[in-house]
Amino acid sequence: MIFDWLIPSLIATLLVLAAIGALRRVNFWRAGQAEKVDMWAGLLAMPKRYLHDLHHVVERDKYMSRTHVATGGGFVLAMVLVILVHLFDIQSRILAWMLLAALGMMFCGALFVFKRRLNPPSRLSKGPWMRLPKSLLTFAITFFVLTLPAAGILPESLSLSNIGLTLVSLVLALLVLLSLGEMLFGMTWGGPMKHAFAGALHLAFHRRPERFGGGRSTGLKPANLGGESHGVAKPEDFKWNQLLGFDACVQCGRCEAMCPAFAAGQPLNPKKLIQDMVVGLAGGTDEKYAGSPYPNVPVGKASGSPQEIITEGLVSADTLWSCTTCRACVEECPMMIEHVDAIVDMRRFLTLEKGDTPNKGAEVLENIIATDNPNGYAPGSRTHWAADQNLAVMKDVKKAEVLFWVSDGAFDMRSQRILRAFVKLLKAANVNVAILGDEERDSGDVARRLGDDATFQSLAKRNLATLAQYKFSTLVTTDPHAFHCLKNEYADFDQAGALKDVEVLHHTTFLNRLIEQGMLQVDRFKGGKVTYHDPCYLGRYNGEYDSPRALLSSLGIEVAEMERSGYRSRCCGGGGGAPITDIPGERRIADMRMEDVAATGAELVAVGCQQCTAMLEGVVEPRPQVRDIAEIMAEHLVEQLVEHTVEGAA
């Protein structure tokens, strides 16, 4: 019978073609730069990373997670059994029945994929992705029919005429070719199923293995300074596993749905960016891209190759500068792709090699270099805000329990109100605290996000040298950006161990501890409805969602949560140097965030970041008021002066 050789040889041919495609794809990735990865540990950990960590992200969309478990799980199982049953022709009823079950499961899953594709949301890519559910269904049905004889349900030879049998065979063979072609050939030759092949390897060789198993890895990797070039100019300048990561993209568009710049109509769409990187690593144009474009940028004009400069034809510089580095895309990506790393890598090339940071970027960087603060204020005036605060300065006291990292908010009159409020609370709790005074410098956050890693590293080293001179067990700051740098990014430069045994805390965490220990007492808040805005660099970057809320509840506030809060909080638009590069869009990100706030009916939005405060207060009135949690606490502080004297006397 014609089946006997046609189907197995089809399967074998497609497997060989898939293997050739896989080698070709691997070579694309190998064009990238060397990066040390523990291959075996990664491969061994891959199933767990897939089943646990990746599934955890997919699970946020219950519909899709169940659909994917059924479809993906069913397919993998079915494929293995297809090879056993139909290629190696193992005669086993059990195997055949198992194959039927797997195909049945896959069929059910594929039905839901099909249903979703009937009226797909705009974030999903169309084009070949619209074909995929049909291919999945065809695969399931065709092999189901083909397996029936092996399972003993249908007799081996049907009572059909020879011509009829040949016809059925040919039709089935055609369906096998179409569906298995999609699944196997497409997997390694750039079809929608590529996500399974590249995705599995991406999970195994991920550049930030710390992210798996509930960990967190958000600090940018240091740039190598002093070479022939800096940053990523061409796709081949990425690390090989970054290229692999781009290839893993499944074009689900969850990043696009979360991206504040995309929503604001700025020319950035994280999904398109990753797809452009894929175009870059494989060579070609973006003509076949079938998802949402960068807002107001037509699709089809971009082209690139591994050896061509990305910003000369593939991606416009404005796209790269639109990013606020809020990490919403990374948090949301079910494939755990690192968009922000890639964007900053490319920004490094623009700033360090081309000297082309847009708008106020050059001026800010020059100021940071010459004065250690972005606005070019006299470094000697850094402590003026605290002239009436009677704060100990490290230079005099040499050691303290707590070092208060003031940050550049020291120069800004609005931020100074937050600083004063926090100092008031520290004093009320009798915390042994000191500041660095004029010895403090900008943390380097802005310089780093603008791509100037040379200046960041210089600041980090000088700050660490200052910190190494003094003794303190806790470092606390009101600025989540400085907090992130000090906690997650300085370690790469901390040879002297200045921060080795130091606990770096955000002020909300620190204040919450004081409340829990009963060192601070606050009155009940008597205002109206309050909501809380999670700063990106506190929440997504450092996982601190609870302390600010605990503080608010200690004030008797029941937070009216915004639809996008916690890990899904929408950026205020102030991160990543975005207010400095100021790429035009249709709307302002801060306005959109304030609409989120207003939608809760809150009269007051509590924040934990001076940058968020500045951005949200920049929204025109009438709007809810904006206060840092430290300010709200300080307003409701119960002064305990009398009690202390009594205790002292007793």
Binding site: L225, G226, E228, S229, H230, T351, L352, E353, K354, G355, D356, T357, G361, A362, L365, E366, I369, A370, T371, D372, G376, Y377, A378, P379, D452, A454, T455
Partner: protein, 259 residues
């Protein structure tokens, strides 16, 4: 072969932090030189007289220079003669520099002394070089209150850059680090005159009060923007050179510039 433009750069000083930086006007000189080079009007080379180790030189180089020459000089040496030698050896036909340095004596004399010794005209406070055709440059000079004067000058000349000239482009770290800093050893001539001087911290000079007696907004606007019309000013056109000199001398006495 394009004529050569030489931009002379110094180490600047940030007014707030007092730290070394790319000097504002010298950066503009390099920017103008680069623009002339990009317009294929002249070929740019950049030189600094002083310490070759300053990291600020890398900031200048980061504007897109592959090479920067340093005439090795100590702080107490007179840079004039080595600079003259260098300009002549380079066969430059245009020298661009800031009006005055941001550190040291900051007298603003160097361009004048250079021009005098070279026997070239000096164009003070240039805002823009519009064209160079057949060895004649059309140059816009910056005058107070945004006014401009167009002059045409034959090469060679020395020009100082006004702040109105195009701001210097961003400096890029990578090219700056890779640029070749060529150290040229020169004869060192100690500045013996300056060695005799006693330096004291500068005191801010009292500002002349300008009493505006305007009653209407239009008058105030005029007072704020119009060129001050010196009531006591005199225009000497047909007088002899001696009479003109005497008038200037009297004026300087009157203003207590000389006693």
């Amino acid at each position: 072969m394009l004529p050569k433009v030489l931009a002379l750069v110094s180490i600047g000083r940030h007014p707030q932090s007092g730290r070394e930086r790319r000097a504002e006007q010298d950066g503009r000189a390099v920017e103008m030189g680069l623009c002339l080079q990009e317009r294929q009007l002249m070929h740019l080379s950049v030189a600094h007289a002083g310490n070759a180790d300053s990291s600020v030189l890398r900031q200048y180089a980061g504007m897109g220079l592959s090479k920067l020459s340093v005439l090795a000089q100590q702080a107490n040496e007179d840079v004039l003669s080595p600079l003259i030698d260098y300009v002549e050896a380079q066969q430059a036909s245009m020298v661009l520099m800031g009006v005055r340095s941001e550190m040291g004596q900051s007298s603003g004399m160097l361009p004048y002394l250079l021009a005098e010794r070279l026997g070239w005209p000096l164009l003070p406070r240039v805002a823009e070089i519009q064209s160079i055709e057949e060895g004649v440059a059309q140059v816009l000079l910056a005058l107070p209150r945004g006014q401009r004067r167009l002059v045409s000058v034959a090469l060679p000349f020395v020009a100082t850059l006004d702040n109105a000239a195009k701001a210097p482009r961003q400096t890029a770290f990578g090219p700056g680090q890779r640029a070749d800093i060529e150290v040229i050893n020169t004869t060192s001539i100690a500045d013996e005159v300056a060695a005799q001087w006693q330096f004291t911290p500068a005191k801010p000079r009292p500002k002349r009060m300008k009493v505006v007696k305007a009653k209407t907004a239009a008058d105030r606007f005029k007072a704020a923007t119009a060129k001050p019309v010196g009531g006591g000013g005199k225009v000497l056109k047909n007088e002899t050179v001696e009479e003109k000199a005497q008038a200037i001398f009297d004026f300087l006495l009157e203003e207590k510039v000389i006693r």
